[in-house]
Amino acid sequence: MSRMRISVIVLALWAAPGLAHHVLGRPAYSLSEDSNTPPSMEVETQIGDYFVTFMAFPAFPRPNEPGRVNLYATRIDDGTPFQGEVSFTVRDDHWFSGDEENLGRQGPDDNVYRQGFVFKEQGDYIVSAHFESGGEPYVIDFPLRIGDPSPVGPIGITVAVILSVLVGVSLVQRKRMQRLKLSSHRESVRDHG
């Protein structure tokens, strides 16, 4: 089988903390007072022979704030946890963005692979986990938003659409009025001879 890749990009709304609230049955982020666990973002996916849980801490990381991703992979057929090594890379989540940076290579710690990160700039990123099993390469992509999404997008689109429609309607109406005036003028000229 050629290289497997699963993209779990959830388009524009991926950063919603409710990624899996109803779908996967548990809040995608949670805060436990007792364990001091920070809120996390979580996505579950299956790829090839594995069922993978991918988590990012904190759920809403900011620039220059340390965070980490946790990966947990079990075989779909018998639930055995993956025990090999996993390497993590990151790239910008933009079209035509080719540059990929290595984050690190990790071994299992109690069956969990933990990779720390610090991002200097806010934006949308894709963190990828790479491992091999049964001689086949696996790649799992996890979208990660650093900082708050820009409010300019929705506001800008709304203002642009509404303005262009209103301006368009005004222009059409003005033409209609001119046509109406012209035709009434012609009629009055015809009537008066």
């Binding site: 524009a12 903390p17 109803h22 779908v23 708050d148 709304t158 509404i162 109406q173």
Partner: protein, 508 residues
């Protein structure tokens, strides 16, 4: 964290009522004509003149519109600029915990009053008409007729399915940013529709909220109607339809003199203000009277009602603790990954299909029993109104749970609407909120059981009257011939009861 479901005693009450109601429906003779009593609110002593003054003036409505628009803009600002933690952001908490749940409860008392103060429409009207109130001439709209293919409520049904998909599948209810973006999208749709089409085509044909409110308002105990129908019969100027120099025409093309259904009335009060005879007023009525007498769903309306029934139940199903296991297992079967949107979409389609198929089968059996005296299509549309009280009752009972258990803490949210500097709710806070109900839990359960009984009873009454009205007297659908449709009513109520008796996952 989950909310406890309706206890066994609640279930026993509902099942007992279903047994008694079913036996009665199958044995009782044909029902007679309903003579309903109405109470003209404008004619009441002391408060009557106040009501007349308040409804005849544009000011009270404008003040409410300004208030709701301010709240709506606050939701957008909070959603776009505030914390992404949903329970700490006013956008998500106000929209989904208070408005979306409270809206259905409000219909029970106020009918389609929400549409009169809807901020989507208010903002769109102000932007297109460029006036805060009173009639704008020219109206700055192209006044195009809605294309024939869209001159129905299929677009509203499609948008309602889409809204459910965004709400429960994509999880927009827990995304302040997504919630604000959706709010802006609705303003865009409303504005574009108002700028292009005549009157308020969005309200009539496209708005999923307005159509939901409109159908449920058919079961509401209030209506806007002529005080004296003879005055309407003699009226030739029809200001209620055309408007006057100052007042806009009816946004949904209704003529007050022939109005028998609340469905498309947006409660805007234009007819009250424009009627030169002061002949239009609010009045109270028995909640079942329109369902029994006036409601005649068309083909598209019948489908909307059935969609409403299916989607309300689907809301309940997705909030059951077992739903996530089902989805995960199903996702593994079909190889779905990530947010499991394919699995969710298929689940949504199956849920819609199952409810409608069940109804279609019961109608088919009825059609067979009556030897095809009516066409299947006519029977399908004619009996669909039976599903409306069932959907409304369950929707109310389900939403009441959300409202009573999840809407507290709003004061703190209004104090910090953007949730700046806040952390997600801790387990202890969640637990506290979970235990701190607005009303006692047993009262909530009692209301839920009563609502299910109310919905069942109303559905039975509607069925009996439809059975009488759809056929000629000799062929009337009565007695054992009602059995297939009674199976539908009992089956749906039983399913709703079972859903309510399960623990329910907290929204946020």
């Amino acid at each position: 964290m989950t909310h406890p479901g309706l206890p066994l005693w609640g279930g026993v009450v509902v099942v007992t009522a279903m047994i008694i109601g079913s036996l009665w429906a199958l044995r009782a003779p044909l029902p007679g004509r309903v003579r309903a009593r109405y109470l003209e609110l404008a004619g009441l002593p002391v408060i009557g003149p106040w009501i007349r003054r308040l409804t005849a003036s544009p000011w009270p409505l404008l003040i409410f519109k300004l208030l709701f628009v301010a709240l709506f803009l606050l939701v957008i600002v909070a959603g776009l600029f505030g914390t992404p933690v949903p329970e700490r952001n006013l956008a998500t908490a106000l929209t989904w915990n208070l408005w979306w749940t409270g809206l259905i409860v409000a219909v029970f008392f106020l009918g389609s009053a929400w549409c009169a103060v809807c901020p989507w429409d208010a903002l769109a009207s102000w932007m297109v008409r460029r006036r805060l109130w009173r009639r704008a001439e020219p109206a700055n709209s192209l006044h195009l007729r809605v294309p024939r293919a869209l001159r129905n409520i299929w677009p509203a049904l499609a948008l309602f399915v889409g809204l459910t998909w965004l709400e429960l599948g994509v999880g927009i209810t827990t995304s302040p940013y997504g919630t604000a973006s959706l709010a802006l999208l609705m303003v865009v749709l409303t504005t574009v529709s108002l700028a292009l089409f005549e009157r308020k085509a969005f309200c009539r044909h496209f708005c999923p909220v307005g159509r939901t409110v409109g159908f449920y308002a058919q079961l509401a105990p209030v209506e806007l109607r002529p005080i004296d129908t003879d005055t309407c019969t003699r009226c030739t100027s029809l200001e209620c339809y055309h408007g006057d120099r100052d007042v806009e025409p009816c946004p949904t093309h209704l003529v007050m003199g022939s109005l028998t259904q609340n469905t498309y009335c947006t409660s805007c009060g234009n007819c009250v203000q424009s009627c030169p005879h002061g002949n239009v007023s609010w009045r109270l009525r028995p909640p079942s009277v329109e369902a029994v007498q006036g409601a005649r769903p068309h083909w598209d309306e019948a489908w909307f009602i059935l969609g409403l029934l299916a989607l309300t139940a689907f809301h309940g199903i997705t909030m059951m603790p077992f739903w996530s296991d089902w989805m995960t297992r199903f996702a593994r079967v079909i190889g779905d990954s990530g947010q499991l949107l394919w699995s969710f979409s298929i689940g949504l389609a199956l849920s819609l299909g199952a409810s409608i198929l069940f109804y279609a089968l019961c109608v088919a059996l009825t059609h067979r029993i009556t030897s095809g005296a009516l066409s299947y299509k006519r029977l399908f549309a004619g009996l669909a109104f039976v599903a409306l009280p069932l959907a409304f009752a369950y929707h109310l009972a389900h939403n009441l749970n959300h409202l009573v258990r999840e809407s507290n803490g709003m004061g703190a949210l209004f104090a910090n609407p953007l949730g700046l500097g806040t952390q997600p709710l801790s387990d202890a806070e969640r637990h506290l909120r979970h235990m701190d109900l607005i009303i006692p839990q047993d009262l909530l359960f009692a209301i839920q059981a009563a609502l299910l009984v109310f919905g069942f009873w109303l559905a039975v009454i509607v069925l009996r009257h439809r059975g009488r009205d759809l056929y000629h007297k000799a062929q009337a659908l009565a007695g054992w011939r009602l059995a297939p449709m009674m199976v539908f009513v009992v089956g749906i109520t039983g399913f709703h009861l079972w859903l309510l008796m399960q623990p329910m996952v907290m929204r946020m």
